[in-house]
Symmetry: C2
Subunit: 358 residues, 2 copies
Amino acid sequence: MGREMGKGQPRRGRRRGSGPTVSDVARAAGVSQMTVSRVINREANVREETRAKVEEAIAALGYVPDPAARSLAGGGQCRIALLYSNPSAAYLSEFLAGSIAGAAASGAQLGIEHWDGAEGVEALARRLAAHRTDAVLLPPPLCESAALLDALTGTDMPVAQVATGEPSPVAHAVSIDDRAAAEAMTAHLIVLGHRRIGFIAGEPNLTASGLRRAGYEQALASAGITAAPALIRGGNFTYRSGLAAGEALLSLSSPPTAIFASNDDMAAAVVSVAHRRHLEVPGDLSVCGFDDTAMAITVWPELTTIRQPVAEMASAATELLVKAVRARRAGEELAPQHLQLPFAVISRDSVAPPRRSD
Amino acid sequence: MGREMGKGQPRRGRRRGSGPTVSDVARAAGVSQMTVSRVINREANVREETRAKVEEAIAALGYVPDPAARSLAGGGQCRIALLYSNPSAAYLSEFLAGSIAGAAASGAQLGIEHWDGAEGVEALARRLAAHRTDAVLLPPPLCESAALLDALTGTDMPVAQVATGEPSPVAHAVSIDDRAAAEAMTAHLIVLGHRRIGFIAGEPNLTASGLRRAGYEQALASAGITAAPALIRGGNFTYRSGLAAGEALLSLSSPPTAIFASNDDMAAAVVSVAHRRHLEVPGDLSVCGFDDTAMAITVWPELTTIRQPVAEMASAATELLVKAVRARRAGEELAPQHLQLPFAVISRDSVAPPRRSD
DNA sequence: CGCTGTTCTGTTAGCGCTATCCTTCGCCGT
DNA sequence: ACGGCGAAGGATAGCGCTAACAGAACAGCG
């Protein structure tokens, strides 16, 4: 039977005008499709030289892998649910962007699920099952809920906690070294000449809070400064709690020359309190925060703070989950990974040397 | 009976344990895969009897079509890009959540693209093309960039603007009635007894700013109050501009009893200024914002503000784009739609009747 | 009965990618 | 030399689905 009878021209196929495909890249790089695939997936056993050639071709053609095709051919459909509760919204947006990128990169579907705890844990599990969820991504503060974690790890869905201080041994986790970060920030203040450094602790139920406080204390100890208990105040990560703690610290007979708040919201509140008392920031009082959320650059002066690579963390956690799901489907089990990403001290305008180093 | 005769014994396929496929259903129903596909897609030209048989088989096997395969095979692939610039991040998180939901609902892929304007418009267009973007979603403030809009609508990608005051005639748009919202908020203050109501305008380049101001003026006019020009101050949606405008308004010889800021950031700044001057909010000064971003409930007291259903708006815009892309592929053209979603006045603790209605 | 339409249903060939072989090649030890 | 081994990369066959076309079944009409 003459397949190409009517037209001498081979049938155009039903290519979407879309874009370059693996075979285009392969042709351009002078390798096989499979090698391109290997480069994309960062598999081993590809010579550096070959990899470079392929990457060049990818860049030149502006190639982007088709997620649909990937999940069809590869490990198969993978739906991961991002479970969130109380959105510290600035955080969530970066987190979402990261998850989306991670999901896109591994060809997974991302679903957003809200859970406020009112609905029981089992009801949640049922909901996830109905949505054919393969894995669950937990940003703070949900990643700290022991009940939730238990229920989730009880199912056969891999779970990833992001930014928890104390990862569960049965879950994947991505975080920064909160303790080292707090220590670095405190040390920074000490180097500038501050000696009376106030600290506003975070929500006591979150494990990261303890680590941040430990880092602060460690830095003081390393510098030979005795930590005055009066300089440490409790907070719960809200602006309002920062207001109260700030008032308390600045009402001391010998107030601190710098205040390190465990997050940006509380630091912003401290700035507000300082202004109310007609103290200049950073002239009369240095203030620093933690997280580098939108709040940090919203207030004036902009806050010196610790940047967590939230997007990267979310992206890494997402990819981890996809890998876990695929491994599980292949019959293996991916041992819980606990990644730690680097943080950075971001210097802005809310910190300066103390006016008189007494 | 033998397996498929034509081909040799298939080599141990790499079936995922997943679920039943079209061919399972087809075999169970005694029809071809194609017929099953037709039933799934509710195509015409399938006998009622056949359809019933297939549907029965689907139900019996618990078959669910694989979206990845569908979009690979069908033209279904649709990649929509969410283009964002400015870290108006609190807004973005809700926006993202909405877009994701919208994309999932219509089976589209969502990509996040950052653009700060440094890279030229054509470079951006090239990047989008390289990422096989089919349509572009523009949250504020990018949706106001005429240059960008021109460049984008010049391509054959559908574009949707979200929350713009003045939709382009060639783009889709989803917004709220900013003017009516500002009018409602102002009227609310008037009903409480305020007569000297300060207004902080938004970034003059954004069309929504003008509408909000017009709404404010309209409400005053309707109540027979003459708008004192001194009570209107310019701002640009930043906290810092709110600080300056707040200072100016409260320094007037006859200061306002209420200040309506065009967004929450500026309203938060006004609260801060008021506190610095030892004015109680809302006792001595009522303050209200606009947008209901995270900032509104971060500061204390929490802000009375206008809620825009950002997530719904993003979701609606996303679905609109998908529809437009599919229509275009089918050869038709979806005329630009301009949707307007309802807003709501959210009463919190930053507004009260004036102490003495003078 | 042929001849045209009109439904319906089946067949074939991919969509873009990766799993699973398989070949090739260089490097070691004896 | 030789066999053996592991790394690098190629060839091929699908993943589950649908577009496009090719029949088959059935109607009406001369």
